[in-house]
């Protein structure tokens, strides 16, 4: 297990370094950092001084090492557009995105597993069929259309929910939360639904397929023969065995959560990292783009590590080490 964990860790480090290299290349070679930071009127001496201070005259590998050191210390440079440290911008926007992503992921997981089990058990039921066809829409409709649809129904026609922003937030140090005020909670509903929809349908379809497969196996028949109640067979015997692929997919899906968060945040003008990034692309604010890239890579690497280690919790065979070859 330790060798396995170490290998996952090594892989994580390689990915992070590769992304850091891309971020550095963007930061250093796309556009001219000095011109972007000083504007048109700066004198030649000022320019040379800034180039010296940024270390732009040193060999490239020294610059890269310096860039890595800066990132490790949380220094992502200064936004060209806003003239503020990128790290501050990220810290300001982080709580909004984390709240949105965690809530929608939790909702998608719980509802997805529940609906997946339901549609697998009541395969021919009317409601199950309805849910299945509805999920087809979730898989194929673009996120922003779902968001616009929700806005039209719940904000324009019914006027139940606000269509943009985070509502009132409460601050705890640098963290801000919208969960403690009514307007904050109301504002969260539609973005979280939009973000959760795709994952929900995906998890649901996966759980259903895996459940159907598990229900056909011998150990389920045997459990029935032993007179174990159906409910217990569903949740304690069959569902348990669907959890490994579901965890893998849910982990891999994190990438798309981040992607859809970019879109969702733009639709609902949610003041999170995704909308910050879209603005950065629009105004070609390279330091913000590079920092966001690093942030996504770190999150992704972390989640992958956690998923890798979760296998050991979910699958006792791996812990025993008897089935080393059966590693997922």
């Amino acid at each position: 297990m330790i060798a396995y964990a170490l290998r996952s860790l090594a892989q994580a480090v390689v990915v992070t370094l590769a992304v850091a290299l891309i971020a550095f290349t963007m930061f250093r070679f796309v556009g001219d950092p000095v011109a972007s930071m000083m504007g048109q009127e700066a004198s030649l001496a000022d320019r040379a001084e800034l180039a010296e201070r940024l270390g732009l005259n040193q060999p490239v590998h020294v610059q890269f090492a310096r860039y890595l050191r800066d990132i490790a210390q949380g220094n992502f440079g200064i936004s060209y557009r806003q003239g503020r440290p990128v790290a501050d911008l990220l810290a300001e926007r982080l709580p909004a995105t984390v709240e949105l992503a965690v809530l929608s992921a939790a909702f998608a997981l719980v509802a997805g597993v529940a609906l997946g089990v339901y549609t697998a058990i009541r395969r021919t039921g009317l409601l199950a069929n309805f849910v299945m066809s509805f999920s087809l829409i979730g898989v194929s409709l673009p996120t922003f259309l779902i968001g616009i649809g929700l806005i039209y129904v719940f904000a324009v026609e019914l006027r139940w929910l606000p269509s943009f922003g985070r509502g009132e937030v409460v601050k705890f140090g640098w963290w801000s939360t919208g969960l403690l005020t009514e307007s904050g909670r109301k504002s969260l509903v539609m973005p979280a639904m939009t973000l959760a929809f795709y994952q929900l349908t995906l998890i649901m379809r996966l759980v259903r397929a895996e459940m159907l497969e598990a229900m056909r196996t011998d150990y389920i028949k045997f459990a029935r023969a032993r007179g174990i109640p159906e409910r217990s067979i569903w949740f304690r015997h069959a569902l348990r065995n669907t959890m490994i692929p579901v965890t893998t997919i849910a982990g891999l899906q994190l990438g798309s959560v981040i992607a859809f968060a970019i879109v969702t945040e733009s639709v609902f003008q949610w003041p999170g990292l995704g909308s910050l990034f879209v603005q950065a692309v629009e105004f070609v604010d390279i330091p913000v783009m590079a920092a966001y890239l690093m942030f996504v890579a770190l999150v992704f690497v972390l989640v992958n590590l956690i998923v890798d280690l979760l296998y050991f919790v979910l699958d006792p065979r791996l812990r025993a080490g008897t089935l080393a070859a059966a590693r997922p």
């Binding site: 390689v14 990915v15 590769a18 992304v19 963007m26 796309v30 556009g31 194929s140 409709l141 673009p142 996120t143 922003f144 259309l145 616009i148 649809g149 806005i151 039209y152 904000a155 324009v156 269509s163 990438g255 798309s256 981040i258 992607a259 970019i262 879109v263 733009s266 639709v267 990034f277 879209v278 950065a280 692309v281 629009e282 070609v284 390279i286 783009m289 890239l293 996504v296 890579a297 992704f300 992958n304």
Partner: protein
């Protein structure tokens, strides 16, 4: 039209033509197509959409590029069947006074064009790299596949946004004319090459050990000739199925980028930019600017997806 056929080589005889036609009609592919009503419907709708968008200059009552026919006085007109609507604007007009029906046609055209081109770009990159990785193996293979792994960790939208931002710096931000669509095509193409590369690589790994490749090597053909003229035809099948499915994805990505405001400029009609514009007027009760492009986009993506799924299942020998 009929006049042009004179220059073609002698047409095949009626009998041969009929035989060929009946062979096509009796193939497994057509059989499975006619078995599924949903697929037939999807095929029909996607054909209508693609056909209408290709013929947009012929069908559309107004040209969005002909500024003399556009008047701001006509802007925000509701659809024809609603109070205040005009019969010359069937689906109403947008905020610039453009006929919505016409710009949806032109927008669908732009979306399909960009979708197809970016799939071709992704296909070219992916197939080439996959062939090289699979054929040579060793270190080249390892490096290319590691790059693919790292890229796959990032959502395609993110890659496309990054490439788009970087390309706009390198090419100058204020490109006019077709500049934006080529940047879009490039950025979407660069985001989706990995699946093609992986598919081609894995089938190349099988093919390269076969006898015909060894024979080609023995007669002294260059690696490039073997890869592209001998191996390539044998590994393209699954790739084209993948391309069909990814076409829907590429169209969606274009729409998303344009919706986010980093794709095509608002003056250039595409489904994404139209939805972006319409979204701003949703609260003013002008639902038609956003609803009609949205329906078109959803229908396009859904039907192309369904056709792609059918193609995948129909050509997959394991499912027969």
């Amino acid at each position: 039209m009929a006049v042009e056929t004179t220059n073609l080589p002698a047409p095949p005889s009626r009998g041969a033509l009929r035989a060929a036609l009946s062979r096509v009609l009796r193939s497994d592919l057509v059989y499975s197509f006619t078995r599924s009503k949903l697929t037939m419907l999807a095929g029909l709708v996607s054909l209508i959409l693609i056909g209408a968008s290709v013929a947009a200059p012929l069908i559309a009552p107004h040209s969005p590029y002909d500024l003399s026919t556009i008047s701001l006085l006509d802007s925000h007109t509701p659809p024809a069947w609603i109070q205040g609507g005009e019969s010359r604007f069937l689906l109403g007009t947008d905020d610039q006074g453009r006929d919505l029906f016409s710009i949806i046609l032109y927008g669908t055209r732009a979306s399909i064009f960009i979708g197809v081109c970016s799939v071709l770009v992704a296909l070219a990159i992916g197939v080439t790299l996959g062939l090289v990785a699979g054929y040579f193996g060793g270190r080249i293979d390892m490096v290319l596949m590691r790059i693919a792994d790292v890229q796959l960790t990032f959502p395609a939208i993110l890659t496309a946004l990054l490439v788009d931002g970087v390309a706009r710096v390198l090419l100058g931000t204020h490109k006019t004319g077709g500049g934006e669509s080529w940047i879009l095509i490039l950025s979407i193409g660069l985001s989706y090459w990995v699946p093609y590369a992986r598919t081609v690589r894995s089938s190349t790994l099988v093919e390269r050990n076969k006898e015909y490749v060894q024979a080609a090597r023995i007669i002294g053909l260059s690696s490039r000739a073997i890869m592209f003229r001998h191996v390539l035809p044998n590994v393209t099948g699954p790739v084209f199925v993948l391309a069909t499915i990814n076409l829907a994805l590429a169209i969606l990505t274009e729409a998303t980028l344009s919706f986010l405001g980093v794709g095509l400029p608002p003056s250039e009609p595409s489904l994404g930019t139209l939805i972006n514009i319409g979204n701003k007027f949703l609260f003013a009760g002008e639902w038609w600017i956003v609803i009609f492009p949205s329906i078109t986009l959803a229908a396009l993506v859904l039907t192309v997806n369904l056709v792609g799924d059918w193609l995948r299942d129909a050509l997959n020998p394991k499912l027969r």
